[in-house]
Symmetry: C2
Subunit: 290 residues, 2 copies
């Protein structure tokens, strides 16, 4: 049996076909343009593929309450043309298969849980790229009471050498995303993050970013007490993660026990952000078996 995954990102869509073992058999990706054009490409990809169910992990904010009249919609996004888009409805109507629906980061979190072979029951997945998002799971449930988590917009304390930087979040200015997302690197240094990472791995901006990301990890640790925290997204290299680990220990200061730091704060278990695809496959299978 074949199943599908749609990772609906604000920049690009990644569609994949897999099997019941959650193996990726085929994949395609295209830029996110208008909803009509982009969703049509999704439909074209899956139309004669034979998938029996599809998992959709979407950028947000989205409506995830199944009883809500806007269930399946991308709701109030500032992304041009995409506010109030019934993405789930459009896909289900054309492809006529059951579809699960959650955030892209929840899908990634779920994928990481699957990839752990269910050795753990709880985790947090952060993606640190153009923006900062997060998904979290506890005992098989996504964290989120009446909606999905937006953990990337929480407030953190300032790095002492970063007082002059105002932050770039259009909503909150100096929330986590406003202080530690990829574009903050260029906003501080005038140099794009990828280029700075290659040429100046010792630039102090990496200490500043890791200080904020470490606080995200501390706050998630104290609030959710997960068994693992995973950092995906373009900003997080293995060298940055090492800095994050050091800052994390300093900031947490032994207040709660962390058994094995290297197993607690990790990079994704699979490359190319494919955790979301694996998670979507697993969620699609669950939807089908319900």
């Amino acid at each position: 049996m074949k199943i599908g995954s749609i990772e609906a990102g604000g920049t690009k869509f990644v569609c994949a076909i897999g099997n019941e073992q959650l193996e990726i058999l085929e994949t395609t990706q295209f830029p996110t343009t208008t909803p009509e054009e982009t969703i049509q490409k999704v439909i074209d990809f899956f139309l004669n593929s034979g998938v029996k169910a599809i998992g959709i992990g979407s950028f947000g904010p989205i409506e995830i309450r199944e009883t809500h009249e806007k269930y399946g919609f991308i709701t109030t996004t500032p992304k041009k043309n995409w506010a109030d888009t019934d993405i789930l409805g459009a896909i289900q109507k054309s492809l006529k298969v059951p579809c699960s629906f959650t955030t892209d980061v929840n899908a990634s979190a779920y994928g990481e849980l699957e990839l752990s072979k269910k050795a753990i029951n709880s985790l947090v997945y952060f993606t640190i790229g153009t923006g900062i998002g997060g998904g979290a799971i506890q005992n098989g449930q996504f964290i989120g009471g009446k909606s999905h988590t937006e953990i990337g917009h929480g407030f953190v304390k300032r790095h002492p050498e970063d007082d002059d930087f105002k932050g770039i979040c259009p909503f909150h200015q100096d929330c986590l995303e406003g202080l530690a997302s990829g574009p903050t690197i260029e906003a501080r240094t005038g140099i794009r993050g990828e280029i700075l990472a290659e040429n100046e791995p010792e630039h102090k901006v990496w200490d500043i970013l890791s200080y904020y990301i470490a606080q995200a990890a501390v706050n998630a640790t104290l609030t959710l007490a997960p068994e693992k925290i995973i950092f995906g997204g373009g900003v997080v290299s293995s060298s940055l993660l090492e800095k994050v680990k050091t800052q994390f220990l300093t900031l947490l200061n032994g207040y709660v026990e962390v058994e094995t730091l290297d197993e607690y704060l990790c990079l994704p278990a699979i490359e190319n952000n494919a955790s979301a695809t694996i998670g979507n496959f697993a969620l699609a299978l669950e939807k089908l078996n319900k």
Copy 2:
């Protein structure tokens, strides 16, 4: 049928006997001294009371994993004599009734859920007093993967007029508890909080505290998306809560929808911090019926 509640606080213990309707029939309280003396008083109170089950809500950190060898222990508390105390074991051994075991703030959160008549499925309960603690529930489960939440020690951003205050948390210095717990008022002003509240309700320290408490509410909103956030503890008056609401709206800046602010950010539904007692009764009944 009678059931019992033990609210085991770091300063005092409150014991109560109630009925299946979760009504409080009898209550007693005494200061927290040594474990031996304090637990003996608990046992004396309940010994011939006829309670069929007891709910224990304890100060922490505590071990709540039922499969752990230290389940039921107060673990690494800095409180003198109380580290590594098997409080659950001592009580069960003497009273020979089933006992539920969670944190005092989880018990309060559970009590508030009961008092809402289960109109909601998720909430966060903060207590802001000598320290800051919090408990949270989603779909009947306490938030917390491998342990209970310690949300009161998360990091927040500084109030612009509070830059010189170092914070008083012995672990984290300027975490939420270090910046907004009751003793920070005297640390900043030299005047005890109760006295300042009575004599100087317009002192700027109240704006500073409400700025931090509002961030706790924003971070909890973004991370957990609860249906309600409740503020108990001696520091939170109705006038402080009004300041918190104003700051909350400014800080959140419309990023997620909050339908009715006055129903979202609230004082406890019951006076004298009795939410924990109600929660303990309900948890004891569940333990009995399992």
